[in-house]
């Protein structure tokens, strides 16, 4: 009898948790969400490969960064502005953080929020970052920040390792965005 009394509230709690859990899982990166709070999604090497190689209608800009990387933090406001200026209609843009997985709900979204960054944000979920680095560019040594611009065919048309020259990046984007719309 005592056992039955105890099991009812426990079952109720388990039911509540199980109902809430799928709703949390559905949350993904929300590029244009007006809701406060950046959502950072884990991405493994295979999923990153899928994102980089999938067919697309627009050029793709990808920025690899980390909260511990000073030049990454310094260039971020310029990247946020590029995202706003071009918009997702003409340019796909996502960022991949190489921070530790333990930072996925703390340091990384905190920084993105402070930047008012709304582009989709991922954090590389890999014990070994080397395969992902090689996947992106075998000649890239993994130093941050690193910025890659792909055309609609998936070809790299611009890359920069280190703090990006924003005028140079805009010029490169303008070339492919123009080509894409013609």
């Amino acid at each position: 009898m005592r056992f039955t009394k105890a099991i009812i509230p426990i079952t109720f709690c388990v039911l509540l948790v199980s109902l809430a859990a799928p709703a949390q899982k559905r949350k993904g990166p929300a590029p244009k969400s007006d809701k406060p709070g950046a959502v950072v999604s884990p991405i493994d090497t295979d999923a990153l490969k899928g994102l980089l190689t999938q067919q697309r209608q627009r050029p793709l800009l990808v920025n690899f960064w980390a909260t511990f990387c000073d030049p990454c933090r310094d260039e971020f406001p310029d990247l946020v502005k590029i995202n706003k200026d071009y918009g997702s209609q003409s340019l796909e843009f996502f960022t991949v953080s190489l921070d530790d997985m333990s930072d996925i709900k703390t340091e990384v979204p905190k920084f993105l929020d402070s930047m008012k960054a709304t582009m989709p944000a991922y954090l590389l979920d890999a014990n070994d970052p080397e395969p992902a680095i090689n996947l992106v560019d075998r000649r890239w040594r993994g130093d941050l920040p690193a910025t890659f611009l792909y055309n609609e065919k998936g070809e790299v048309v611009y890359k920069h390792i280190g703090r990006v020259n924003i005028a140079e990046l805009r010029e490169a984007i303008d070339k492919v965005v123009k080509k894409g719309s013609s």
């Binding site: 000073d70 014990n127 040594r141 941050l144």
Partner: protein, 201 residues
């Protein structure tokens, strides 16, 4: 004729200006590291007490490990214990570990305090003007170089695969040291180092 000469002069100036611009961009990049098998020339750097040491004077009889490290970089700091353990484990085997701090933003006093705080007992050198970082093409912290007794580069890259010690699966640097000690070829002589960009002068 004069107009043609002027056009040629202007064209030449554009070419020269372009070449300078390209050169300036290349100069801002991290120099390429020496190839595996290359011999690293002796160098002298000051320690945290401003006492000069040559590579030759610090080298181990079976080889030397140079690791570019940092005071503030969380990735480098995640390796503090592993680097100290590496130094202790291989000292007895004749391989010496030397830390090099090439960050312009971290002075000798900060490096000394950091070493004391984290019980780093191996020698740490300061690399003012990042001359040795440039010579070795070091880009990040931590980034390791393993030299044989003749200063021939046997391994360059990361210490292991994971910042989080609990997720280490591949001890690339230790594997290289063990292979050399066993008089075997280093199977994986390069692995991409991952960490914080060295703050160059």
């Amino acid at each position: 004729m004069r107009t043609r000469n002027l056009s040629m002069l202007l064209a030449s100036l554009f070419v020269i200006a372009g070449a300078i611009a390209v050169g300036a961009r290349a100069a801002g990049e991290v120099p390429a590291p020496p190839a595996i098998g290359a011999t690293i020339e002796d160098f002298t750097l000051p320690d945290v007490d401003n006492k000069d040491h040559s590579l030759k004077s610090l080298a181990g009889k079976n080889g030397t490990v140079l690791i570019f490290i940092s005071v503030q970089c969380p990735v480098s700091n995640a390796y503090n214990e592993r680097m100290e353990k590496l130094a202790q484990d291989y000292k007895a085997k004749g391989i010496n570990v030397i830390g090099i701090n090439a960050n312009v933003s971290e002075d000798a006093a900060a490096v000394k305090a950091h070493a004391a705080e984290h019980n780093l007992t191996f020698t740490i050198l300061k690399d003012p003007g990042n001359k040795i970082a440039d010579r070795l093409g070091a880009a990040v912290t931590p980034e390791a170089y393993f030299l044989d007794p003749n200063n021939k580069l046997l391994y360059h890259g990361r210490i292991d695969n994971a910042r989080n010690a609990a997720q280490v699966e591949t001890n690339d640097l230790r594997n290289a040291l063990d292979a050399a000690l066993a008089a075997k070829a280093v199977e994986k002589s390069e692995a991409k180092a991952f960490g914080c960009t060295i703050k160059r002068a």
